[in-house]
């Protein structure tokens, strides 16, 4: 049954991607822009889920990794005028190195302390950017002279391709032998170690992968927007949104993260006419889903399949 459901999942996924690829033929440039941002957020949420859902570590600071990627790309582009591909790769590398420097000591800590360290890291990065305003643009932010494209359709296709590739890699990883070991480490680290698995090594690997994809997505996002600012890629509120999206879509599903992010961002755009009420309504819906369907949207479907 599961196998059938999974192959059905792949089929449905392919169908959705196919439809999504042709959306620019119908949608306005404005809606395409919303979806483009949503797709990058989808990658944020998916990489967060790999760490939380599989390795069992709560990273309260996904924006630390994203911000490192985004600002590295932005600075290289703005100050040194480096070509875009180089900026993107450098952004991913920066997120990986920063993430490792953070995770290596932090993973020694037990319980909520790992989460707290990641939270503090975000605040540190935020402050560092404000302090070094000369290079980073500080609280105002900085412009990125070379953007990916000025055509909203091309930007949309870039974002979609990137999200689909990320989804395939992250999802495939989660279903692989490594995903199995990661889940075991997350659920019962002592038992996983007693089965001969170096739990720290596997968690560190998960953190690195999560960092690379977060950094890539962060760099691409600011190269799409043409500006980098603390409020759009680093603020704690952004991190919270990513976490809510992942939980909303379904913990331990990877794809749920993308689903949740697209839902969250589209919902808050569609409800914009409500004005102040907009954020309130979206938050209330997210709260209701988390309270009544703690497995999330996609998780609920998968579990129904498991019971059969």
């Amino acid at each position: 049954m599961i196998r059938l459901l999974r192959s059905r999942l792949v089929l449905i996924g392919t169908l959705i991607v196919f439809v999504a690829a042709f959306l620019p033929l119908w949608l306005s440039a404005y809606m395409l822009g919303v979806l483009t941002v949503a797709y990058y957020f989808g990658v944020f949420s998916m990489s967060w889920d790999l760490l939380f859902g599989f390795a069992g570590e709560v990273n309260f600071g996904p924006t630390f990794l994203i911000g490192l990627g985004a600002y590295t790309a932005a600075i290289l582009n703005n100050q040194f005028n480096l070509p875009i591909p180089l900026c993107v790769v450098a952004g991913a590398l920066a997120a990986l190195i920063g993430g490792l420097l953070l995770a290596m000591p932090a993973l020694r800590l037990r319980g909520p302390y790992f989460g707290l360290v990641t939270l503090v890291a975000v605040l540190l990065l935020q402050n560092a950017i404000v302090i070094f305003a000369g290079i980073t643009g500080g609280e105002i932010g900085m412009t990125v002279p070379n953007v990916l494209s000025i055509d909203p359709r091309v930007n949309y296709w870039y974002a979609l391709t990137f999200m689909v590739l990320s989804a395939v890699i992250l999802f495939g990883l989660s279903r692989s032998a490594i995903g199995l070991i990661l889940q075991a480490s997350g659920q019962d680290a002592v038992e996983a170690a007693a089965l001969g698995f170096n739990v720290t090594k596997h968690k560190l690997a998960a953190f690195s992968i999560s960092a690379i994809f977060s950094g890539l997505a962060g760099a691409l996002l600011i190269l799409y927007m043409g500006t980098a600012s603390v409020g759009t890629v680093i603020d704690i509120a952004i991190g919270v949104q990513i976490i809510i999206a992942a939980v909303l879509g379904g913990r331990r599903t990877i794809l749920g993260g993308a689903l949740g992010a697209i839902f969250l961002i589209c919902a808050s755009e569609l409800l914009r006419p409500l004005g102040q009420m907009n954020t309130f309504v979206v938050s209330a819906v997210a709260l209701a889903v988390i309270l009544f369907f703690p497995d999330g949207l996609l998780g609920q479907l998968l579990r129904a399949g498991e019971r059969e």
Binding site: I2, I181, D188, A194, L195, G196, F197
Partner: protein, 490 residues
Amino acid sequence: MNGVAARLEVRGLVKRFGGLVAVNDIGFDIRPGEILGLIGPNGSGKSTVMKLIMGIERPDAGVVRLDGVDVAGWPPYRIARSGVGIVFQHSRPLHRQTVLENIKLALLPDSLLRLVAAPGVDERAREIADLVGLGAVMHRHPSTLPFADLRRMEMGKAIARDPKVVLIDEPFAGLTGGEMGAFSDLIRALRDQGRAVLLVDHNVKSVAALVDRVLAMYLGEYVADGTAEEVMRDETVRRVYLGGKIEAVERRGEAPSAKPVLLSVDAVSVFYDKAQALDGVSIDVHEGEFVSIVGLNGAGKTTLFNAISGLVPSTGTIRFGERALRGMTPGAIARSGVVQCPETRELFGDMSVRENLDLGGQHLPADARARQLAWLFELFPILDARQRQIAKTLSGGEQQMLAIARALMMQPKLLILDEPTLGLAPVILEQLSKALERLRATTPITVLLGEQNVTFALPHADRVYLLEHARIAWEGEPARFAAEMGDGYL
């Protein structure tokens, strides 16, 4: 067997947790194809020894040699890879995966590059599933399996690593008679394959038929070793479990059994997931009565008390005075007068003795609290002297007295004492025993005491229940217990 080199050699193992010496100079050998039983009551350090061997805890001193290589202090994954496997009593299997995938997990290499399992893995996992008797259910999810099958799965995972040494924690906990037989066969098969097996359990009785040798521990120390019979006959072992010579004190005055029933427990059963911890237990406690429930660790005493206090869901009826306790929250039950002093003591470790007591008497008016406090300091003079001391720095015996005193601050109608002697040295037991005697003599309080130590439990009791394997096996007066049950208890 002599002459064969030991597969596992443990020498001078020491582990301290702060000031507490959990394991002190423990050593033993296990040869290939041999089963050693490591026994001791709760808190004796036997599980710590197992964790030290596996590397889950780091020993402070000592040697753990595996085929001659000292692995003491290695991280658990390296010890696992060099050939030690463990079967945990409780584990958290992967719930989204099938039984087969759970077994496959154990067959995977510790590699970040192998995304797809090696070709032989699937076949091998199926073989193991068949071997441990899970062939028919290998495609089901763990959450749909009975408890015994989950233990089989844990066994399968341990076997999958082809370990030279297998550590098994409480092999029969939560299993029924028939399942115990099947599990014994699996353990014997491990021995016949030439593996060294260590069984960790509360008492000799449950593993006697299986083990080649037994080592008994108490309070972290070696007590005795030898064959199961020798250890059961050993004087020190008998003193540890039974507490020495059993004697009952005659109760003075009116027999409480003539008074009305205060607590009535009728056909109460409790399941933890799928393991049955209590099976149709019925007991009565009359007003002013002192009732002892004796039974070895794991018999279900704590579960019974937790069911009464509303801490675990149960079936059957529990009445306290006029009211049925079903549906009441633990807080409401405690306020109605049933106060439990748990085995784990649950003191506020970072608060002083006085603060702990004040918290217990929070609901009392100030003058009543002062009176209660004065009375308690009379009952436990040592606490008076230690009022300002931080609770976690007290000795074990003092902590136990504080826990009892705090429970008494709540002015209970029924005081439930769960294993107050746990991990205490004999000299402390004496003091505790005197305090209970004074308590009984000076107040009309009703007490329900759960104990493994019969010598401690009997002298004060008006009536005794014996709890064995989740059932009441005997009921009667303490004087008759020694005569009827004294020998069969261990």
